[in-house]
Amino acid sequence: MTAYVEHVKPFLRRTPFHERIEALMHGNHWMRWTGHYSPAAFESVQSEYFTIRNGASVYDISPLIKYRIAGRQAAEYVNHLITRDLSKIKPMQAFYTAWCQDDGMLVEEGTIFRFGENDFLLNAAKDQLHWLEQAAYGFEVQIEEASNDLAGLSLQGPQSRDVLRAFGINGIEHLPRFGIIELELNGRWLRIDRAGFTGDLGYELWVRPADALWLWDRLFEVGRDHKIAPIGAQALEIARIEAGFILIDLDYSSALHALRPSNRMSPYELGIGWTVNLNKPGYFVGKRALKREKEQGLSRHVLTGIEIEGRKPAPGSFLYADRAGKRELGLTTSACWSPTLKKNIAYARLPAAYAKPGTEMWIEIWYHKEHKIERSMVRCWAANRMFYDPPRKSA
């Protein structure tokens, strides 16, 4: 037995899948996600990435924070809280949305699942029960954290549907993107939604925590012929950037957690202005400020995709209007080499005038080379942030 000094004793929680993940883990490559052990990588980031794009990848999403929202006025409440029009989804559908503070600065963005007229589950990256309850003043609604009530696996990749078919999910091919089904399999409750963080064909599977290992074992049993493999966060990160999804704490800070007020960002500034519906009936939190921002053009910048010359990934790199680097335009956030597209891609905060796809700029990249740090100033071009968008995603 290891003798621990009490205050350095590992304290992270184990998800219901931990036992299986640990058995496959090479090199103890864990990271921390909402206080849980979460795999950063198993053996090879590269092969895990290609599992997402060519096979069926399995990623443990149990650590997501989940809030159950129910009550007589739950729908009215959710519509007041979020920026999108809730009436666009019916029971057993989900959608991606943003929610903001009074001045239109983003609290977070994520997926809200609608199970009934007034029955919702909100998935979030950060704790925010206090915010949700503050916003609920005047609504007859109950909000409770349900993070530990569900164990979830994200099954993503072109072969994910075949895995589910082999798993015995009849009619899975009819489940539209952002659709939800609930069923019983071998006497166990199972919820499947068609969503994910990879921009590919994919599903999320939810069971009761007690059935977690059953789900894992059955999936890997039936998935053997469909190139099923577990993945970690590093492989997912590449797929995430290719798909154009933003990540909290990297691409933006939640308004509830930003260190300085100026660090907060609006949905328009993050390039998810399409989630803001200024015409939906009634008022929603931040509407007046967002309307003003849109009408008066107050956005400070917009998070845009860029394609960069060469192969050197460019996180945290400055962009300039000119090669000499006299006129600074902005900074990159997420960046990677895209193995599928064979392109050097990144997200950059740019003035709106430079966000038009094809606009040429210069980027200053610092990189390691043979024990030195070198600098290169290369061309880059604004691009649609959704770099990778295969038809199978929604087919």
Partner: protein, 530 residues
């Protein structure tokens, strides 16, 4: 739909003194104004109330001192029946054992303390001077702290304030900076020697607050009250002839004469909001009164949470409004008397019963823990002495403010609290005015809960939000809703919950009218240009 011709430009919710002042100024400027009052009479909390047949008192506010002279002059209140020359009253402190002193008379204070006979008038003069500098903002919109977004008016008023501070001189400016956030008990110890005189200063500092003499910000409350005793008020305490209702009657006449329409018995249920902007109000009968501008004389909490409603507002703003400190702490007691005991008959005017600073602090200790004070501190007026019409011949009425009767009760029900504050106040009064109990033929007690129910003041807080440093100037009612505008376009605050705050001053209504006019004129310019 009514034809636009008959539609008012501004609807004012509530015919309290500030609502009427706003109505009068807006109507004078040529706008079509409709004032809607839930009660059968105008006045709000500034009314004359017949609490038993033949006996009349001022319902809530009973001493007039803050009515701004500019407003009284602009609106010609004297012409409309308000007599401000009469009924000036002095403050006399009653002490156990039958002695007393007149706070305005140095010789009388000398009987208590020779040092304080000099120190008290000097301290009051000095504090009133400092308060006057702070009151430079009374009839202007307080500048917001972000200088970058400040218009020329803000800069001008900031400049005026700096000038007023400068004019205080180095010594007083330093002293003001020192005492501004202090507690009034420490200030009394600094300035005064004897317990009864210190207690008087403490009492003036806590009146209207749910705080004790040792609580911070009580000096600020003292200065706030003293501001109305200088050039920005009546220069002293007045007992208006005919009760406080005479003030609002004159205001109503002035507003009507200027062209405003006043409807009583018209309770507003909520503000009508269309396309996220004010469109009028809906009465409790379901009737709609449409207008592009709605000014609320109700308190900010009621305006935000009930009249506008949280569904039309942002989350942080709603939280701010919910957390405004609106803790009423004073009960109003009305006595019908078949005669006056000697101590009261010779005292006249305004009486204070709070013999020691510690008595007030202990009275507050009870309130802090949700109980009615064992020994309340009292401010007593006997308006029938100067205005016999308020009581049947040979009889009298007394109007008492008793602190503390907290809104947040822990141990007793409202009914018990009502009984307790009444009985305990009479017991305290009996000690300094023996024989009073036998003279009482009827008594009415209004606890903060009663004030809330009858006058619509949330928490029974008669300033529509306590006057403390965190709830004044650009923070009144909140940093997010300064300059009289609520977040919903077209909705304004014109009551005591807006700067400069409570007391029968009319200043919030005056300032709100100016801001509303600014918006109306700006819109007309836009329409004209289009």
């Amino acid at each position: 739909m009514s034809a636009p011709r008959t539609q008012p430009d501004v609807v004012i919710i509530g015919a309290g003194h500030n609502g009427l002042v706003a109505a009068a100024y807006l109507a004078k400027a040529g706008l079509k104004v409709t004032v809607l009052e839930a009660a059968p009479q105008v006045g709000g909390a500034a009314v004359t109330r017949e609490f038993v047949p033949g006996y009349k008192v001022s319902g809530v506010a009973h001493l007039l001192h803050a009515l701004h002279p500019t407003i009284a002059r602009d609106l010609g209140l004297a012409r409309h029946g308000l007599d401000l020359r009469a009924q000036r009253v002095a403050t006399r402190c009653l002490l156990p054992g039958g002695s007393s002193f007149d706070a305005g008379d140095a010789a009388s204070i000398a009987a208590i303390s020779r040092a304080d006979a000099e120190a008290y008038p000097a301290a009051m003069a000095r504090l009133t001077r400092m308060a006057g500098a702070l009151a430079a903002y009374a009839l202007s919109t307080p500048p917001r702290p972000d200088i970058a977004r400040m218009g020329w008016e803000g800069k001008l008023s900031l400049g005026k304030f700096a000038w007023a501070m400068r004019r205080l001189g180095r010594k007083d400016m330093l002293e003001l900076t020192r005492i501004l956030t202090m507690n009034v008990n420490d200030l009394a110890n600094d300035y005064l020697e004897s317990e009864p005189v210190r207690a008087l200063l403490c009492f003036e500092g806590v009146l209207g607050l749910c705080l004790g003499p040792r609580s911070p910000s009580t000096v600020f409350n003292l200065l706030y009250r003293l501001a109305s005793l200088g050039a920005n008020g009546q220069g002293g305490f007045l007992l208006p002839k005919g009760g406080m209702g005479s003030v609002t009657h004159a205001l109503a006449k002035a507003a009507t004469a200027a062209g405003a329409t006043i409807r009583t018995g018209a309770a507003v249920d909520h503000i009508l909001i269309e396309s996220d902007a004010a469109a009028g109000v809906v009465l409790s009968t379901g009737e709609e009164v449409r207008a592009p501008h709605v000014a609320s004389n109700a308190d900010p909490q009621r305006t935000a949470l009930q009249l506008i409603g949280p569904r039309n507002l942002d989350t942080m703003f709603v939280s701010r409004m919910r957390h405004l400190r609106m803790n009423g702490s004073a009960a109003k007691i009305h006595l019908a008397l078949d005669g006056l005991p000697e101590a009261l008959a010779k005292a006249g005017g305004r009486l204070v019963v709070a013999p020691k600073p510690d008595d007030i602090e202990r009275a507050y200790d009870c309130a802090k823990y949700g109980r009615v004070s064992d020994r309340p501190a009292l401010e007593v007026t006997i308006p029938s002495l100067g205005d016999p019409s308020l009581a049947p011949a040979g009889k009298h009425v007394a109007s008492i403010v008793a602190q503390y009767c907290p809104y947040r009760l822990r141990e007793s029900s409202v009914n018990e609290a009502r009984q307790q504050i009444g009985a305990r106040s009479l017991a305290v009064l009996e000690e300094v005015a023996p024989g009073l109990g036998q003279r009482v033929t009827a008594m009415e007690v209004l606890t903060p809960h009663d004030l809330e129910a009858q006058f619509g003041m949330t928490g029974g807080q008669w300033h529509h939000g306590e006057i403390t440093l965190d709830q004044v100037l650009f923070l009144r009612p909140a940093g997010q809703a300064q300059e009289y505008r609520m977040p919903v376009p077209g909705v304004y605050l014109c009551g005591a919950g807006a700067h400069p705050g409570g007391n029968v001053s009319g200043a919030p209504g005056y300032n709100a009218a100016r801001e509303i006019l600014k918006d109306v004129r700006a819109q007309k310019r836009v329409v004209g240009a289009a």
